[in-house]
Point group: C2
Chain length 322, copies 2
């Protein structure tokens, strides 16, 4: 069973997963996609444990999970070191029955079902008190940490600890709110819309922009204009669901056409359910193409080096016709 | 001129470097090294500005720097956004005159000169009050963010802000000290030596071990046994300098032989000169092979997934004969 371990210096949790151990010689990345549905794991999946079917989207338990249900949730101390079981759930969202690799090539209605599915799984897991956070995310392409299966899918992780990345953001929003009595996220959206130089797509209720301090070339955040803490607020509102799916499809098509089908990740950054001090927070999606590699400088400082200013990234993406 | 920009949410600085902008189509990684000294940039370098020669090691200014001397150091505010010039210095350490790619293949005496050179440049930059931190690090191999030049080199960045990664560590050490009145680092070294399962190399004054919550397969920290804040304490002490170089060579040879010449980074994590609250800190070197890719989960949570337990990594490396 995988373990969570806590770094005693910076209090960062790490998942130690014995099950995924490979021999060193096997760390060679594949470079092409499987284009043959006959040999596709997800086209021919008869054995996975299905946890949900929503319209044409299937959610199954990962066959190689990083998180599984544990009876024993207590921390184990070994001197300085703390560990606990990697309790939770690791699910795979198979985004369509067809053998299509990139979400950009799905119809808007199908993308809408995928994003709705994330919300359904979040609602489900938040009934479990031992789950502190549910992360929905996608790895597309080998450079983004995916395998070469060639079938559009994303992942849902229900985890027993709050993610540092989200906590840092909530903390920042709180500091800002305490000082200004305004929402940092709302002010940010207003400023980006007024400035315009980093905006890529604007719809009635959403904006897709490259953040001022973007870490990566062509990094984009998709954010609702009215501030909402939780990712699920769009769901059940037919127009909003379709609008979000439309913005995502347009953005992903711009990547595919403009950047030659790059690897990318996206991560949904919702507030954790039921935790305090997050009224100032607004959910958003970070979309992160994987065109550069981080090096020693990033590792040593925690800073990033981005070789393309976000204004240039935004202009480039605005001009890609889809 | 490159810019530093501050993320308004998590207060993380990012370097925005227009000079390094490339067209999207040029983001294709080379996969092999240049083995021909005749076409090597560093074998035939006549034009770089040399800042130091120490024995057979040359330090030159980077031809494409992320940090350069700026007249204007004030922050610029644009609404929520803060930016300033990327003031500082970016230097390249050419580790040997010969066309040798991997530090593992240098003699111990030469490695000793390289590590001494880092200390000399740290001392130099700390005379400048506008410099808050000096990071010495190495990128080896394309997957570690290097180019395929095939000539051993490392980098020195003198930067005007304190790195979050080091601050987080100092903060952790301080919390521990306040509670226990003991050094976290000293306790950590003691515990690792007593346990032994994660230790790879032990010399009289140094230990190389894989940390309990290692983020990456075969991640190793090299740490002095007696706690010292600053990286430079070994320097000027002939025996210690040679001992450190010997430990590094042995470790890098274990990587080369055992892991099939993998890409790796190392970063020297010294305390910042002259800042308070760091008595509990101990300098160390993080050595990070690049065998896996981070994916959406790491991006979304700030956590890492490590597919090999550090005990297994350590056992594997211990058993590699060099």
């Amino acid at each position: 069973m995988p373990q969570l371990r806590k770094d005693p210096i910076v209090s960062r949790w790490v998942i130690i997963s014995t099950e995924r151990a490979r021999r060193p010689a096997s760390y060679i990345d594949p470079t092409s996609y499987n284009t043959d549905p006959k040999t596709c794991t997800f086209c021919n999946d008869k054995t996975s444990t299905e946890v949900l079917t929503y319209e044409r989207v299937r959610v199954v338990k990962s066959g190689n999970p990083f998180f599984t249900t544990a009876q024993e949730l207590t921390l184990r101390n070994q001197g300085l070191h703390q560990s606990c079981h990697s309790h939770g759930s690791h699910e795979v969202v198979i985004e369509c029955p067809e053998h299509i690799a990139n979400m950009a090539d799905l119809p808007v209605s199908q993308i809408k079902s995928v994003f709705k599915t994330y919300a359904l799984r979040m609602w489900h897991h938040h009934n479990d008190e031992s789950i502190k956070y549910v992360l929905a995310y996608k790895n597309y392409g080998v450079a983004a940490g995916s395998r070469n299966i060639g079938h559009a899918r994303s992942q849902i992780m229900a985890i027993p600890v709050l993610p540092a990345r989200v906590l840092d953001k909530i903390h920042g929003a709180k500091l800002y709110f305490d000082f200004h009595e305004r929402s940092l996220f709302l002010d940010l959206v207003r400023q980006e819309l007024k400035d315009g130089s980093r905006v890529i797509i604007e719809s009635e209720n959403f904006v897709a922009f490259s953040p001022f301090a973007a870490r990566f070339p062509f990094e984009v955040w998709v954010m609702p204009k009215p501030k909402r803490q939780y990712y699920d607020y769009v769901h059940g509102i037919e127009g909003l669901e379709t609008e979000l799916a439309g913005v995502m499809k347009e953005l992903l098509l711009k990547y595919k056409i403009g950047l030659n089908d790059p690897a990318y990740n996206y991560v949904i950054q919702s507030a954790p359910f039921g935790s305090a001090q997050q009224e100032a927070y607004c959910w958003h999606i970070e979309v992160l193409p994987r065109l550069t590699r981080t090096a020693g400088f990033e590792r040593g400082t925690g800073f990033y080096i981005n070789p393309i200013p976000p204004e240039m990234s935004a202009k480039f993406l605005r001009e890609v016709k889809v």
